[in-house]
């Protein structure tokens, strides 16, 4: 235990020069191989390499949609089709005058971006199958339209693809064009992946509710990603049209989508390098095993099924040796409350959240039935009551997940809107969950950094281009997260995958994540559940210390000892109504509470 605490902060704080190189070495090798490929002087290999690069331009964007955001876009080939026909039709002068091929290619990208967003719209409200089906339906329809719209697409006969003039003329010039675009796409998506936007995407995928509570607005973020992925798909389509030199609707089979998809899944979700390798291998493999060509889609499908059933994490998971190293046994969580002063702003003056006459029904069940509640800064307010008395529901009303039927909710006297859970972070209201909502595949540090998403300044574009503001954001978030982890006593585990931790540690990680908001109010939903007596004691001290820094704490708990130890005021709920309210001493003496709930 002791030696890990001593060494890890240094490791996580400043990565050594050698370590950085180690992480980049595969990229450097890949880049050199790509640059040196023309030396082989084999035009057949050149064509395969062009195809791999083009496919990767599309897959790079798709990787953000599928691998990071977890949206199952199975028909993304439609973006390739759109881009190809747009570029080809404009360059060939089928719509108005003949366009310059480079301009036509850009138009293909714009077209892809527009339709990427349109196809993505259902994903903003619905997940999974509906979105998968929309992309599939769109792919079907685009092909139908391509067949029927003869003036522009040439129908079944097809249309010639564009030929790019100097400097990227057909041959190795065109190869370099594809290679450069693939490299740029990789660079941009890798930047997104490692920025707070990438972490937010993964959070939406694995812990959507927690992402919202951290202030991540899913629709806004997904639209940006669909825009980018659509644009990259469109550009890839334009290049594809040029590579094919003549395109017909048959060239864009749904099976191509499967190739893109499997490349990403084989590589592993939430990785950039893995899907690159996956794309290269899958593109090249059938070329070198000619008898396989006919069966290639079948084999891809078998591969897809095998991955899903056997290694859902992909190759990246299999190769993740770092996280196979055993963790120290018998770890102890020792919060360092003295660090709180730096983690929280000492709130000046008094703030309050006031609930008045809140009522909420689920069908015929009255979950909350006319509740008044006031949470003040600097105090720990306990909320207790038997199961089903409306404690968690109250918390969910405050954090915007439920809209009550009647009642008002005011923050410092001003109305606070119901709904909009993602807007709570901007009021600096943070929360934890009854069952910890953690991104298991991300490291502990990344999980905590998610909590500070709203403090980032850089826009999506700045993050994509890794501009200074984004790098500053990253540095600040990393520092703040290390500090929050140190405060709850888990800094030694910063680099560990979160799903390897034990339950009690997850509870403290949630608190660290909540602290990232520098919350004015902190709502804890049964934070002591599943903790040992010793851990509960430390948790109590931590909560008390947080409130003494000026944060208002709402504590939903079943452990009566913890409640009476640290609360300044207690409200007892029963059947959605207030049964009693007052200081712990008053509650302990309250006859009804004792008989109904506390017993003894």
């Amino acid at each position: 235990m002791t030696d890990t605490t001593a060494s890890t902060p240094a490791r996580a704080g400043a990565t050594s020069w050698l370590g950085k190189l180690e992480g980049k070495i595969s990229w450097i090798l890949l880049g050199l191989a790509g640059l040196a490929l023309p030396l082989l002087d084999d035009s057949y290999i050149g064509v395969i390499a062009q195809r791999a690069c083009i496919y990767w331009v599309l897959s790079a964007g798709l990787n953000l949609v599928v691998g990071y955001a977890g949206q199952i876009a199975i028909g993304w080939v439609s973006m390739l089709t759109l881009g190809a026909y747009t570029t080809a039709a404009l360059a060939a002068g089928r719509v108005g005058a003949e366009w310059n091929p480079y301009l036509a290619l850009a138009a293909g990208g714009v077209m892809g971006a527009i339709f990427g967003v349109i196809v993505g719209l259902p994903a903003l409200r619905l997940r999974t199958f509906y979105f998968a089906m929309t992309t599939l339906g769109f792919a079907t329809i685009v092909t139908q339209v391509a067949l029927a719209w003869k003036d522009v697409t040439g129908g079944g006969v097809g249309t010639p693809g564009p030929t790019f003039p100097w400097p990227f003329e057909p041959g190795w010039g065109f190869y370099y064009f594809c290679f450069i675009l693939a490299a740029v796409a990789t660079w941009m998506t890798a930047n997104i992946g490692s920025s707070r936007y990438g972490r937010a995407l993964v959070a939406i995928r694995d812990a959507e509710v927690a992402a919202e509570a951290s202030g991540i607005a899913k629709p806004k973020l997904l639209i940006m990603v669909f825009l980018l992925a659509g644009a990259l798909g469109g550009v890839a389509g334009g290049l594809f049209a040029s590579l094919q030199s003549y395109i017909t609707p048959d060239a864009f089979t749904f099976e191509m989508s499967v190739l893109f998809f499997i490349a990403i899944l084989i590589g592993g979700r939430g990785s950039i390098l893995g899907p690159v390798l996956g794309t290269i291998i899958l593109t090249a493999l059938p070329e070198f095993a000619a008898p396989l060509v006919q069966w290639s889609t079948f084999l891809y499908a078998v591969l897809l099924l095998a991955i899903v059933l056997l290694v859902p994490g992909g190759i990246a998971d299999l190769l993740d040796f770092k996280n196979r190293r055993p963790l120290t046994q018998h770890r102890e969580i020792v919060p360092r409350t003295e660090l709180l002063k730096r983690a929280l702003d000492k709130t000046d003056g008094k703030h309050s959240i006031v609930l008045k006459d809140i009522a909420l029904h689920f069908g015929g069940v009255r979950a909350i039935d006319g509740l008044d509640l006031e949470i003040r800064s600097g105090e720990v307010h306990g909320l207790i009551g038997p199961n089903g008395s409306g404690k968690t529901t109250t918390l969910n009303v405050i954090s915007g997940y439920y809209r009550p039927k009647t009642g008002t909710m005011k923050l410092d006297g001003a109305d606070m809107p119901f709904d909009q859970p993602h807007a709570r972070a901007s009021y600096r209201i943070a929360r934890t969950f009854q069952t910890p909502r953690i991104v298991g595949a991300a490291s502990v540090l990344e999980n905590v950094m998610i909590g500070g998403t709203v403090h980032g300044q850089a826009t999506f574009t700045e993050a994509m281009l890794s501009l200074p503001r984004n790098r500053r954001d990253e540095k600040l978030l990393r520092q703040a997260a290390m500090q929050a982890l140190a405060t709850v006593g888990l800094e030694s585990l910063a680099d560990v995958r979160a799903d390897r931790l034990q339950h009690s540690e997850l509870r403290f990680i949630e608190i660290a994540r909540a602290l990232m908001l520098r919350p004015a109010f902190l709502m804890l939903d049964e934070p002591a559940a599943g903790l040992s007596t010793e851990e509960i004691k430390r948790l109590g001290a931590l909560i008390k210390a947080i409130s003494r820094e000026g944060t208002g704490v709402l504590l939903v708990e079943h452990h009566a000892d913890l409640i009476f130890d640290i609360c300044d005021r207690v409200t007892v709920l029963n059947l959605g109504k207030e049964l009693a309210a007052g200081t712990p001493a008053e509650i302990r003496a309250h006859r009804e509470v004792v008989s109904a709930y506390l017993g003894a």
């Binding site: 259902p122 619905l126 509906y130 749904f254 969910n396």
Partner: protein, 289 residues
């Protein structure tokens, strides 16, 4: 023209409705949307043409054999692609596993049978002067199949014990298991049933849609649209939505051309999903936190 819009539209709509019901039967049993629905529809046509036209099997026997193949494929779907991923259903891996399986079957069909659209044999020899010949059998066969399926399912669900057990699983599989219902076996039965309904749709519609491998993605999508619009799990919604979709598509085809029809259906699909994610007739979803 009006008559052909109606007859063609209702017939195609009935096929869509049956594929929608196929989705529903699998969904009710497992909360899984399976991409195998369109595959079953496609196979109904291809296998029917293969058995009856190419191998010269008697039409009735061929029909039974096609449905039996559907049932077997339904069972394989359940065992191979659904059961292993049910434990973590919130990860929605079934989307990929069922898609992979459907693609495997599609590819085998493409290689072994061919990618062209082949004609489907006339099933029932009807005298040109008979009353039945007023409307071509390729139009009334799918409608008849749709009616038989609905009546049959209604009878199964309302009047038989096993049907009630299906409903119990659909309502709350956890509670149903606690009551001692054999959930796994009922789920397998549901998938076999879905296999039968899916191939029935393809078989009866094949004189119109042909024995064509390209029907798979088309049926997958257009069979899903009525389910999405009518609310998942609702067979009534699937039938009404399916017939409406078929009529709308054919009317648009005849009046303004195919591009518009395809684009309009897609636009309606997206708009409804955005405005009413639970479908026009569905109930809203449960709590998240």
């Amino acid at each position: 023209m009006f008559a052909s819009i109606i007859s063609y539209g209702l017939a195609v709509g009935a096929v869509y409705a049956l594929i929608g019901i196929t989705y529903n039967v699998m969904f009710s049993a497992s909360r899984v949307f399976s991409f195998t629905a369109g595959m079953l529809g496609m196979l109904g046509g291809v296998l029917g043409a293969l058995f009856i036209k190419d191998w010269g099997i008697n039409a009735v026997l061929g029909f039974v054999a096609v449905l039996a193949c559907g049932a077997v494929l339904g069972l394989v779907t359940e065992i191979l692609t659904v059961r292993p991923v049910l434990k973590n259903i919130e990860q929605h891996l079934y989307v990929l596993s069922t898609l992979a399986f459907a693609l495997m079957i599609q590819q085998v069909t493409a290689i072994e049978y061919g990618t062209e659209a082949y004609p489907f044999p006339v099933l029932i020899p009807i005298d040109a002067n008979s009353i039945l010949a007023i409307v071509d059998q390729k139009f009334w066969l799918p409608v008849l199949a749709c009616i038989v399926t609905i009546v049959g399912l209604e009878f199964l669900y309302r009047r038989t014990l096993i049907g009630r057990a299906f409903l119990a699983i659909a309502e709350d599989s956890y509670a149903a298991r606690a009551l001692g219902l054999p959930e796994t076996r009922l789920r397998m039965a549901s998938y076999a049933l879905a296999g039968v309904i899916g191939t029935l749709a393809g078989f009866t519609g094949a004189q119109m849609l042909l024995a064509f491998i390209g029907n798979q993605p088309i049926l997958n999508f257009y069979g899903f649209v009525p389910v999405a619009l009518g609310g998942m799990g609702s067979n009534r919604g699937a039938v009404i939505g399916g017939l409406a979709l078929g009529l709308f598509q054919q009317a648009a085809n005849f009046l303004v051309g195919g591009i518009f029809a395809a684009v309009a259906v897609f636009a309606v699909f997206i708009v409804v999903l955005l405005l009413r994610p639970e479908g026009l007739a569905g109930a809203s979803a449960a709590r998240r936190v």
